[in-house]
C-alpha cells in the first residue's frame, strides 16, 4: 500500500477528490490545506467544494456562521473560509467579526462569496476583517484567481 498524503488522504499522484463528506459539521482529519465553505445553500456549497477539492484542498462545510464556528472550535482550522453573507442563525458578517476577535484564528483567511454587491456592504465586510470578496455568480476561474492573489493556490494547481 503506498504512503498516503497526510493532507488529502490520497496516494501520491492521485488528484481525485477524497470521499465526499455528507454535509455540515463533517470535519476532515487534517486542515493543513483546508477550506471551510459556509453557505446555507447546499448547491452553492457543492459548487465551491468541487472547485476547492479540484485544486487540492480538503473541504469542510457549514450551513451558517454558527455551524462554522462549531467546526473550527472542534479542531478544523482551515487555511481559508469561503463565506456567504445572508444565512440563517448567524450571517457571514457576524462570523467574520467573531473569527477576527479570536487570536487563535488570526491566520485564517476569510473570503466573502455573496450576492451582496453594494459598495457599502463590501466596505463593511473588509472592515470587519474579510480579506477578499467575490460576488455571485462566479466562475471557477474567479475563485482560483482570488486564491492565487491570496497566495493560497497550491503550486501544482493551474488557473
Amino acid at each position: 500500500m503506498p504512503d498516503l498524503n497526510p493532507v488529502s488522504g490520497l496516494a501520491p499522484g492521485n488528484t481525485a477528490a477524497p470521499t465526499p463528506t455528507p454535509g455540515p459539521l463533517t470535519i476532515p482529519a487534517s486542515s493543513a490545506l483546508g477550506a471551510l465553505v459556509i453557505d446555507d445553500s447546499r448547491a452553492m456549497r457543492s459548487i465551491l467544494k468541487r472547485i476547492m477539492v479540484e485544486v487540492g484542498f480538503t473541504v469542510a462545510e457549514a450551513g451558517n456562521g454558527q455551524e462554522a464556528l462549531d467546526v473550527m472550535s472542534a479542531g478544523f482550522i482551515p487555511s481559508i473560509c469561503l463565506i456567504d453573507w445572508n444565512m440563517p442563525v448567524m450571517d457571514g458578517l457576524e462570523f467574520v467579526t467573531l473569527v477576527r476577535s479570536q487570536p487563535q484564528w488570526r491566520g485564517v483567511t476569510l473570503m466573502m462569496v455573496t450576492t451582496e454587491s453594494e459598495h457599502g456592504q463590501i466596505v463593511r465586510a473588509l472592515a470587519a476583517g474579510a480579506h477578499e470578496y467575490v460576488i455571485k455568480p462566479f466562475t471557477p476561474d474567479a475563485i482560483l484567481d482570488k486564491l492565487s492573489l491570496l497566495g493560497l493556490l497550491p503550486a501544482e494547481a493551474s488557473v
Binding site: S41, R42, T115, E116, S117, E118, I135, K136
Partner: protein
C-alpha cells in the same frame, strides 16, 4: 384590499420607477451571467411569448430598505430538476425535492442580489422562499404589484423572472 393582478401573464408590465432603474437588458444580462457561471450547458435562454400552464417551482427573495419589493424566479418542475442536477453535480434521477428547493432558492438569491444592486439602497435581501404550484403564479404579496416580468424558455421549458414592487400609498 384587492391586490392588482396581471390579467395576461405573457404581457410585459412595468412601473415607471423600476423600469427607470432596471432595463430588460440589465435583467437579461444578469440572467445570462448566472446561466453562464453555473449552468454552462450551452443552451441559450430564449424569449417566450406565452407562458404554458405547467407545474411550477417558484422562489422569491424580498428587498427591504430604500426599495421595497420582491424578486421571483420560477420554472417548471422539469427544468428545476435539470438545474439542480447541474448545480449539485448529480444525475437527474438522484435529485431530491430538497435539492430542487435549495437550487431554485439559490437562483432567486443570486438574481435578487444582483438586481438589488441596481435599485436604490441601502437595502437588505431576505432569505429565499420556495413554493410549488400547478400552473400560474401562486405567489402574491399584499400591497405589491408586478413591476417587471420576463418569460423565456430553456430546453423548451419555461423560465421567468418577476420583480414585485410595493405600492406607494402616497401616490
Amino acid at each position: 384590499m384587492s391586490i392588482p393582478v396581471q390579467s395576461d401573464v405573457s404581457s410585459v408590465m412595468e412601473t415607471p420607477n423600476v423600469a427607470a432603474l432596471i432595463s430588460f437588458e440589465d435583467l437579461h444580462a444578469i440572467l445570462e451571467q448566472v446561466w453562464a457561471s453555473y449552468l454552462h450547458s450551452g443552451d441559450e435562454l430564449v424569449p417566450l411569448a406565452a407562458a404554458p400552464a405547467v407545474e411550477q417551482i417558484s422562489a422569491s427573495v424580498s428587498v427591504s430598505g430604500a426599495f421595497m419589493g420582491h424578486v421571483v424566479f420560477a420554472t417548471s418542475a422539469s427544468a428545476a430538476t435539470q438545474i439542480a442536477a447541474i448545480l449539485m453535480d448529480l444525475p437527474p434521477q438522484e435529485v431530491s425535492e430538497d435539492d430542487v428547493a435549495d437550487c431554485v432558492g439559490e437562483m432567486a438569491n443570486v438574481l435578487g442580489g444582483n438586481l438589488k444592486s441596481l435599485l436604490p439602497g441601502p437595502s437588505v435581501l431576505s432569505l429565499p422562499i420556495v413554493m410549488s404550484s400547478n400552473g400560474g403564479n401562486a405567489m402574491r404579496w399584499p400591497d405589491a404589484t408586478v413591476a417587471l416580468e420576463s418569460e423565456l424558455t430553456w430546453h423548451g421549458e419555461p423560465i421567468s423572472v418577476t420583480v414585485w414592487a410595493q405600492i406607494d400609498p402616497d401616490l
